[in-house]
């Protein structure tokens, strides 16, 4: 029997993981769940500037669950000759709501992209994010105000990202210095964000060039210092199917949760919808996480707003 190639084994593995995953549902995270889909540079700083257009995006969780928003942008810088330089920049502002806190954050990303072939199709980027997160107690909290303190946590992310015509993969460390645990804060506080380690990689299969159909299985692994030993429990397989201006995707992070996300690129702007709901009780609207995304892809010169799809 002929052995499967590496890329097909990877696909089979991702697909298998999607159907066999047997983990418990995780807690509601402190960020929009769709960040890996719509704002990957939050996890992988080297992603900033990995596209030949400027991308602005806004994502907001809008339904029944803690309110989260993130606005991000990234672009490749231009050189003195009008062409692209090797520098990418990006940034994002986010707001998260917890039981007792508001978290507001601001981040600036710088990345340097090394082309590794003459045709500049394969690149390795190193990225660094400087960010600050302001934790502010809620006024209406049931907990007395004097037991909650505002705090500002500067921090840093760093990572490496490879991207080529069909393969992409990145590793990173976010919140490099962790959240300070002074002032009586513990790892159990909602405002505590631990140092995290991420791997994000995938492969694009061209199914039909004529119809622009591409299948993209990928994996996201996110662990922190305390969960590092349980790496296998934090692997999230993703699957995206691109159909010209549209893609549909899903991921499986537990057998109890089902997720779907979409994006459609109109001329001049794009919009996306992200849904995560439990397999049991999905009709209960309280359990549904619903995020919407909206953005524009900007070009240069005559193409201020890109008229055509760019993924």
């Amino acid at each position: 029997m002929q052995r499967l190639s590496v890329k097909w084994r990877f696909t089979v593995m991702v697909t298998g993981l999607m159907f066999c995953w047997n983990l418990n549902a995780q807690e509601v995270p402190s960020r929009p769940l769709s960040i890996p889909v719509y704002h990957p540079m939050v996890l992988i700083p080297g992603y900033a500037g990995s596209k030949d257009y400027t991308k602005f995006g806004l994502t907001s969780r809008i339904y029944k669950v803690p309110d989260n928003q993130i606005i991000s942008f990234h672009q490749r810088m231009y050189g003195s000759d009008g062409g692209f330089s090797n520098f990418g920049i990006g940034g994002y502002i986010f707001q998260e709501q917890f039981d007792n806190y508001w978290n507001t954050g601001l981040a600036a990303i710088g990345a340097y992209h090394f082309p590794i072939d003459k045709a500049r199709l394969h690149n390795i980027a190193t990225g660094l994010t400087l960010k600050g997160i302001l934790n502010v107690p809620k006024k209406q909290s049931e907990i007395p105000d004097d037991s909650l303190n505002s705090s500002f946590n500067p921090n840093m992310d760093a990572g490496i990202y490879y991207y080529g015509p069909t393969v992409f993969a990145g590793i990173s460390v976010t919140t490099l210095f962790g959240t300070r645990l002074d002032d009586g804060r513990t790892v159990h506080d909602a405002a505590y964000i631990p140092r995290e380690y991420h791997f994000y990689g995938g492969y694009k299969f061209l199914l039909s060039r004529k119809n622009a159909i591409v299948l993209e299985p990928s994996l996201l692994i996110s662990v922190n210092d305390s969960t590092f030993s349980e790496l296998h429990r934090h692997v999230t397989p993703y699957l995206k199917l691109y159909l010209q201006n549209f893609y549909i995707g899903t991921y499986v992070k537990s057998k109890d949760i089902f997720a779907l996300f979409f994006q459609y690129q109109f001329p001049r702007f794009y919009t996306g919808v992200f849904l995560e709901f439990p397999r049991v009780g999905f009709l209960n609207e309280d359990n549904i996480i619903f995020e919407v995304s909206f953005g524009v892809n900007l070009g240069k010169g005559d193409q201020k707003f890109l008229q055509f799809r760019h993924w």
């Binding site: 990995s50 199709l121 015509p165």
Partner: protein, 509 residues
């Protein structure tokens, strides 16, 4: 009530005045008149088509190279993955065969050099051994300016780029067009003296060097831009201009070669030109297809158009008509009775005035001390001293070197196409050898006398001929001499100008 009759003289005067005003108004709109009948007839012999090659490079222009086209594209458009999913890549020159025009059939022009220079600014020598091209260089003040470079193509690979010495001063030098015998180059530049904008200049080859450029004069250059020159195998000069009377925007014009110089610019008629911009006209060496760019609105991506010979339009009785095999020969008929440099010729085939005489380079020539040091010089044509004072003053002092023939010591064999008055004339040459490589025998010895050879490319090989004779008889007599000198396989071949004529009936004339 007193009623006064208007005198008939006044009525006639008014009518004549109105007619004159109408005529002046018509001519002042810079519009060409409707096509003459001859042009319309010729245009039936040509077919225009769009090129179905989706070029996504920084420019949509192309140039001919061997049996295909050269175009610029980003490497990401040549991957298996669709470009929507690929970022970046580099701009690169690609080659695609004319018979299979698609991105999938394309390949990098040179395997060892991206060569990301605009194809319309490239010009290949006939043997494809050298390319002249336009490349931007950075000046000391960090501004970019176009210069003309030369590069040898060795076994299909790029070699070192060398800037032509005459383009070393800070002006712009772009769009070189090399003649088929590699002896002259026409290019666009804003160097002085200038008629304004970019003008066309000419330089002649002297050995491995080029003479200082000479402005082609106000017969050809205007206060607008003249650029994208191209020289066909008859040495007709095509270029794009916004300064001559035309159909709007940039139009393509042709200056027909009369054996000693170029005639006044003639619009390629509404068959080619429109109110949009027509640019970068060139004809494939097989003379059966031409290509040019058209952009209907400034800033919009250009459309690539081809002109083919419509072989079906030639009746069977016209099969020996050389025009059925050569676009270049149709061009004079097409423009023959059309616009010529500000006036319409009343009758077709009226010989056009000469705008530039190559043998006596007149007009706006460059005042260069190095030129004045040359031994052989030609004085100005005083009749053309109507340009601006500045230009005229320079021109009056200017003399232009004549290229000393490299074959001066060789017995006279008129093989320079530039000196041929009639590009369509029938002649006979003795073909003595073939070679897969060009320029293997620049001269040969026949019965103790040296003869310069003429080489042409035909069916995959370079054919070497000696002599040029108006009749078969004379050619046959020379063929016997060649055989006696060891060229046992010599035979007589017929030519129309420099193009091999394969119709056997020409030998019966």
């Amino acid at each position: 009530m007193i009623r006064k009759e208007i005198p008939s003289k006044v009525v006639y005067s008014l009518a004549i005045t109105l007619y004159l005003i109408f005529q002046v108004t018509q001519h002042s709109t810079l519009q060409c008149a409707p096509l003459p009948d001859d042009s319309t007839r010729v245009q039936n012999l040509l077919v225009m088509d769009t090129v179905e090659l989706h070029i996504s490079g920084p420019s949509s222009d192309v140039t001919f190279y061997m049996n295909g086209l050269v175009f610029l594209s980003n490497t990401k458009f040549h991957q298996k993955m669709i470009p929507d999913h690929i970022s970046f890549g580099v701009v690169k020159a690609y080659f695609v065969p004319l018979d299979y025009l698609s991105l999938e059939s394309s390949r990098p022009l040179f395997p060892n050099d991206d060569f990301p220079y605009a194809p319309a600014g490239m010009s290949f020598t006939r043997d494809y051994g050298t390319v002249y091209f336009t490349k931007k260089v950075e000046l000391a003040d960090r501004t970019g300016v176009e210069k003309i470079f030369e590069m040898e193509i060795i076994e299909g690979k790029a070699s070192q780029h060398q800037q032509l010495t005459f383009s070393s001063e800070p002006s712009r030098y772009l769009h070189p067009a090399i003649s088929q015998n590699d002896s002259i180059m026409v290019f666009a530049s804003d160097r002085t003296p200038s008629s304004g904008g970019l003008d066309l200049f000419i330089a002649r080859r002297t050995g491995s060097e080029w003479t200082a450029p000479v402005n082609l004069g106000r017969g050809i250059n205007t206060s607008g831009h003249e650029w994208f020159p191209f020289l066909d195998h008859c040495n007709n000069l095509y270029f794009a201009s916004s300064g001559h009377r035309g159909y709007g925007g940039y139009d393509i014009y042709v200056c027909l070669w009369d054996g000693t110089g170029w005639g006044n610019p003639q619009n390629l008629t509404s068959f080619v030109n429109t109110p949009g911009d027509e640019l970068a006209f060139s004809i494939h060496p097989n003379n059966k297809i031409a290509v040019f760019n058209r952009a209907m609105h400034a800033g919009t991506p250009g459309e690539l158009l081809t002109i083919h010979l419509n072989s079906n339009a030639f009746p069977p009785s016209d099969t020996i008509d050389p025009r059925s095999r050569d676009i270049c020969l149709l061009i004079p008929d097409m423009v023959g009775s059309g616009y010529t440099s500000g006036q319409f010729q009343a009758a077709a085939n009226k010989p056009a005035e000469q705008a530039f005489n190559l043998e006596a380079m007149p007009l706006l020539s460059q005042a260069g001390s190095e030129e004045q040091d040359e031994p052989d010089q030609i004085t100005l044509n005083t009749e053309d001293r109507t340009a601006s004072d500045e230009i005229t003053q320079e021109a009056e002092q200017h003399t232009v070197p004549v290229v000393e023939s490299e074959e001066a010591d060789v017995e006279e064999v008129p093989d320079e196409p530039i000196d041929e008055p009639d590009p369509d004339r029938l002649n006979f040459r003795v073909q003595i050898l073939s070679s897969t490589r060009p320029n293997t025998r620049p001269e040969v010895t026949v019965e103790g006398e040296k003869y310069a050879t003429f080489e042409y490319y035909y069916k995959g090989a370079y054919r070497i001929t000696v002599g040029e004779f108006p009749t078969v008889g004379e050619a046959n007599a020379f063929r016997l001499k060649c055989k006696n000198s060891g060229f046992n396989q010599s035979f007589v071949a017929a030519f129309r100008g420099e193009v091999r004529e394969t119709d056997p009936s020409v030998f019966r004339q």
